[in-house]
């Protein structure tokens, strides 16, 4: 069975030869594993079934990267969103936002929104089309990929400004959400015009932390959900299933996700209280579950604990045939290569439907 067949069957809740797989790792993790005997292509070794075709990420100043300060470890520059950000030079991780360029509704309306609209498109259709051919050739499940409201506004104005706007200036918050969501969908339309036939859509946006969603469920429902629904609807209108990525505890939002038309939720952060063993019996028939293998348990390198974690979650997820193996975030460098191979062996052994 190819990766495409496996994932397609998973979405139809038909048994597969084995659970589909995908995973992510920190750069430092891969470096460690290379010192512990791993050589080669990690996604290939894992048996990754997924293949991204694009990254739609609306930004007003495409290509801008003007260094404003530099020290031994970090570089600070003016980025494509008009923000001043500091990055590690030799380490993975997300940037520190030193200052946001777009701070007010006036900044947005006079500078940033017009620049965003001018800067479209944000994808490269010809390259994506070639990528699609590669994905097909390798039998992988190909997907259009982009960002959603929380993630796009995080990059454009920052969490604090967006979250306060949700209360104090909801009209502005909605305008940002709609404008950027429109641009992502316009990117996707452009990609389909090349003639590619992707297998699904995967949208990224961290909208929760360990304690719960970044805003109340009712505020989400009223102000952001309509754009999430619109994105999922676009996917369905093109016959494509819709995967949604968010970190954090989103248990309280699961009914809204299902109502929005999300077909799959990833990566189900275990330390935030997401648990496939509870979600699968409750919503597994309507929402496929992707991930949830606790990286903190992996990091114990304790085989008994890890076996319990992996096997119990595989069993729960596979009961309805709607589960994909993935860590609940990115595998950290505290996980040894031997441990990781052990995890993959467990997936080989217990992730098999026996068909």
């Amino acid at each position: 069975m190819t990766g495409k067949e496996r994932v397609d069957r998973m979405f139809r809740r038909e048994e597969q030869d084995s659970v589909p797989r995908c995973d992510t790792w920190w750069d430092e993790t891969v470096l460690r594993w290379r010192t512990e005997g791993f050589a080669g292509d990690l996604p290939l070794f894992v048996g990754n079934d997924f293949h991204p075709l694009s990254w739609s990420d609306p930004r007003p100043f495409v290509g801008r990267q003007e260094t404003v300060a530099e020290d031994g470890a970090t570089r600070t520059y003016l980025d494509e969103w008009g923000n001043t950000v500091r990055y590690w030079k030799c380490r993975s991780g997300t940037p520190e936002h030193v200052a946001f360029g777009c701070r007010t509704r006036e900044d947005w309306e006079t500078t940033y929104k017009p620049k965003l609209l001018e800067s479209w498109p944000f994808v490269k259709p010809a390259a994506s089309f070639e990528d699609f051919a590669v994905g097909r050739r390798n039998g992988r499940w190909t997907y259009l990929c982009g960002l959603e409201t929380f993630e796009m506004t995080r990059r454009q104005v920052g969490d604090e400004t967006f979250l306060m706007a949700l209360i104090e200036d909801p009209e502005w918050a909605v305008d940002m959400s709609q404008t950027m969501s429109d641009l992502v969908l316009r990117d996707f339309e452009l990609l389909l015009e090349t003639g590619m036939e992707p297998d699904g859509v995967w949208i990224y946006g961290d909208m929760a932390y360990r304690g719960g969603p970044m805003c109340s469920p009712s505020m989400y429902r009223e102000l952001v959900w309509p754009d999430h629904h619109r994105m999922a609807q676009w996917a369905h209108d093109h016959g494509l299933p819709f995967i949604f990525h968010t970190d954090g505890n989103v248990n309280s939002l699961v009914p809204d996700y299902i109502a929005a038309g999300f077909d799959c939720l990833q990566p189900l952060e275990a330390k935030a209280g997401m648990d496939v063993r509870l979600l699968a019996p409750a919503v597994g028939d309507r929402l496929a579950l992707f991930g949830n293998i606790d990286v903190m348990t992996m990091a114990t390198n304790d085989r008994d604990l890890i076996e319990e974690e992996v096997v119990s979650k595989l069993r729960a997820g596979m009961k309805g045939a709607g589960y994909v193996y993935h860590s609940d975030h990115s595998v950290p460098p505290s996980v040894t290569w031997d441990t990781y191979k052990f995890i993959l062996d467990l997936v080989d052994c217990h992730g098999n439907y026996g068909t």
């Binding site: 604090e160 970044m214 950290p332």
Partner: protein, 208 residues
């Protein structure tokens, strides 16, 4: 609702203009600054309680903290003139290797809202910088934040440096990958699962 209760209510609603107006009105009317301060702190406490009960979320907390901050800017000179200073000092930062700050910022806001003197060291803070700042400011509390699993070892190292320096400050740790078990294992005094709980814990530790 009396005027001080109205001030508390303005902070709870995050109505910064009303909070500043009422603060000025109370000052002009001769209310004791300590009572005005107590009304502001009560507002932040209410928001913190609601946050812990999932009745308020990060946006509500942010606008309340801003109302508090702007009101404090008006009140602070009067407090200083009367020698009313925060009783406790907290040093806070994100540990070395980590550039994330929203969680740390929320805790700092809530601590300020509880009238702690907060020294925010920012992100990517080396262990020795925590130690030096805690010494320089006579910190009662040191708050360590980490968002990445990859920076948890730096948190352990920082706690170790604080212990080796023999500081009396209590160490509170928090952040996405941090658990109570991890906090115990590295010798921290407490784990704060969220910003509002961070206030309760800090108060408990300084009054112990």
């Amino acid at each position: 609702m009396n005027p001080l209760e109205s001030l508390t209510d303005a902070v709870v609603r995050g109505d910064r203009r009303e909070a500043v107006r009422l603060t000025s009105e109370q000052i002009d009317g001769g209310s004791p600054p300590k009572e005005i301060l107590a009304a502001l702190v009560a507002g932040m406490d209410t928001v913190g309680d609601r946050f812990q009960r999932n009745e308020a979320f990060v946006p509500e907390m942010l606008i309340a903290a801003r109302a508090m901050t702007e009101s404090m800017a008006v009140l602070e000179p009067l407090l200083a003139a009367q020698g009313i200073r925060p009783e406790h000092t907290a040093v806070i930062g994100t540990v070395q290797g980590d550039l994330h700050d929203i969680g740390k910022n929320l805790v700092a806001m809530m601590w300020r809202g509880a009238h702690f003197n907060v020294v925010d060291l920012g992100t990517n803070v080396a262990a020795e910088d925590f130690v030096n700042a805690a010494k320089d400011h006579g910190a009662d509390i040191i708050g360590l934040s980490a968002l990445l699993t990859t920076t948890m070892p730096a948190m352990r190292q920082t706690v170790q440096s604080i212990r080796e320096a023999g500081l009396h400050a209590k160490v509170i740790v928090g952040g996405a990958p941090i658990t109570a078990e991890f906090a115990d294992s590295i010798g921290a005094d407490a784990f704060a699962p969220d910003a509002a709980t961070g206030v309760d814990i800090a108060r408990k530790l300084v009054s112990a």
